[in-house]
Symmetry: none
Subunit: 403 residues, 2 copies
């Protein structure tokens, strides 16, 4: 069997008053999911460990079989990989905003007016700059978003953010958080100063000012992390793996795990994503040489952060509609969440998430519904890091340990 892992990002929830005390999953009409749940194995999963509040990054690392406590130092490397930057183990990477500051370095707009065009042009003179043996690479993403990578020398990820995270405050000097990060902080501050000088004088920014638009005259890096040396999914498990993912953060994780990232322009990483197209694409990849495909739907997490339980129900029903394209295929289907994003908490929590594993010829546990409460009657009580082994086992790829 081929393996399809579908992650409803932040899909798990708590009992919601506006849904009569039900969770969105309990409330939603999940026709496809509830048509296969009886013939599935179900249960609860702690994405990292009981009570640990996962980020989408640390959780996806776990689900792909890595130990985030070992490989994760910050979000930067995964964002940078998500933008398609070439990374080497040991590189230090940051998320980065183009922003607007005045002469006294007071931040006027953290997003430079959500600048739409010209960022490729803006970074041309900055990208590749070298200071004391350290090379700096900047790659713009959507709107004001970018990633910054430092390579070479004796670098450390333990440096503070330049981003003050608030308009009206001064751009922060990057500080070393540990003694061995002093050099990193020093060259990064020097780079940011030179970049500021270049950006301030850039024709694109002069033109923005003349049009009354905030200039993208500073870079604000945050979320430093060191690029880990990840053994690829193929090396570790001997299978070819791909992903159908909208958001750069999770894309970056899949890329660093050596997975092919399908390019599906209609996968927006938002409410308006192509719910059906993502599964169609995944099934196509599984028919064309890939043994495992991971699909991430970001929308349920957005509804959780927005505190909108009814929207979450709508999103879940759309996902269910997408999942119908699995029908009739010889696929091991794993459906779960990377974490809980309760609509009444509006952020990730460390609650366990429901999980379902369905495939021909496996155990049928007879649980009637797929939601946070119903799956308690199922057999599983696992952690995120168990998924890959379970997938390989049930799909028939696992090697025997012993004889």
């Amino acid at each position: 069997m081929k393996i399809l892992i579908v992650i409803g990002d932040g899909m798990a929830d708590r009992s919601a008053d506006e849904l009569g005390g039900k969770t969105p999953l309990q409330y939603a009409k999940m026709e496809f999911v509830n048509s296969v749940v009886k013939d599935s194995m179900v249960g609860l999963m702690d994405p990292i460990a009981p009570g640990i509040r996962p980020g989408s990054d640390t959780s996806h690392l776990s689900i792909l079989g890595y130990d985030p406590f070992e490989v994760y130092t910050g979000r930067g490397p995964f964002e940078a990989a998500g933008l398609g930057m070439e990374l080497k183990p040991g590189d230090i990477a940051f998320r980065c905003n183009f922003a607007t500051a005045d002469d006294k370095l007071i931040v006027k707009d953290r997003r430079a007016g959500r600048i739409k065009e010209g960022t490729q042009e803006l970074v041309k003179e900055i990208n590749g700059m070298e200071i004391e043996g350290v090379k700096f690479f900047v790659k713009p993403g959507v709107e004001h978003r970018a990633a910054l990578v430092m390579r070479g020398g004796n670098l450390s990820p333990y440096v503070s953010d330049a981003d003050p995270h608030k308009v009206g405050e001064k751009v922060k000097e990057v500080k070393p958080l540990r003694k061995d990060a002093e050099f990193t902080a020093k060259v990064l501050n020097e780079f940011l100063k030179r970049a500021r000088e270049i950006l301030s004088e850039h024709p694109i920014n002069k033109e923005r000012i003349s049009r009354g638009l905030p200039p993208a005259n500073i870079l604000l890096p945050r979320g430093a992390g060191v690029v880990p040396e990840l053994k690829s999914v193929e090396e570790r498990y001997g299978i070819k793996a791909a992903s159908v993912v909208g958001i750069p953060l999770v894309k970056g994780i899949c890329r660093l795990a050596g997975m092919y990232c399908a390019d599906l322009p209609t996968a927006t990483g938002s409410y308006d994503t192509d719910y059906e197209g993502k599964i169609k694409k995944a099934v196509e990849l599984l028919k064309n040489g890939y043994d495992l495909v991971l699909v991430n739907y970001k929308a349920p997490d957005l509804a959780g952060h927005d505190g909108d339980a009814e929207k979450k129900v709508w999103v879940l029903e759309n996902i269910d509609r997408g999942l119908r394209h699995i029908e009739g295929e010889d696929i091991l289907f794993i459906f779960t969440a990377d974490h809980t994003t309760p609509c009444n908490f509006k952020d990730h929590t460390g609650d366990p998430v429901p999980i379902l594993i369905h495939g021909e010829g496996l155990r049928k546990e007879g649980v009637e519904k797929f939601d946070e409460i119903s799956v308690i009657k199922g057999s599983m009580r696992i952690r995120g890091r168990d998924i890959m082994n379970l997938a390989l086992n049930y799909a028939g790829y696992a090697e025997m340990f012993g004889a």
Copy 2:
């Protein structure tokens, strides 16, 4: 939300014949607990690991998030801390009895007639004694109980007890249990000899003999342990923590964990404790600056050791009466046991214990009753060391790991 953790010490049990095959928790009328259980998350917890028989000390260490296999070498340090002794990491501490021995060092009374008065006087000349660079501190507790602390030099906790644990046997010479404990055993034997000489000549003992009472003429240390370097709950989790505990052993653990120990004279650590006052006190602390309060009720464990299932039912119903003072408060309520003390075994066992987590806006699992058997229908299957992370997650204090 504030966090209230209530530990029914040894509350969990096995099916008891005298209760018609029910456990005390199944049999007891737990009105408050069973009124909130439906809206709670429930399950079973292995205080340390499946099948491991916990002491109250190792279990409470686990529940507070420490690894007892790492920090626990013996009971002494926690008893000493429970008596309010100032301890430093590396100190070697013992529980200690004042006892009565004859000229040939045969133990005549392991408790010196449960001596009521004069122990403060008796230790005056002994406390602070120095031998070969090692200082000895003795602090009396209730009746014949005391703690002994050794400080300085190259000390080891791997020494045997002087206490023969039996009347009619000779006081034991302290033996090194490992090569590196030879010095510790030598100076401790020398200290015990000098203490014996001082105590034998002490006016209080001469007066006791004249009144026909057994003299407190020897010290019998046991339960050697090294004082661990514990990062406080506040340092580890960023919350202010307090406890309402009757017995010195658990008090000592809370103190070494940097928690405030409330002074509640009516909390006796016995059957006659102030069941309601303890919860009232805890609620008061939570309203006055503390984020987490741990309450320990010792009485269920006593009933277990006494093999008295009906008494245990009575104790549990009293605890339930105390718990009603939580009602209406904005509190994350965690109710569990530190271990099982089956009335038909009369000692701690390694069976899993029931646990309940209740708070506004969390998942409602719909389980109907709180007892060892009913909670199997709930979601949790955790270990003691998960509790702190779960508490922080559900109360909304947990930091996110990742982004």
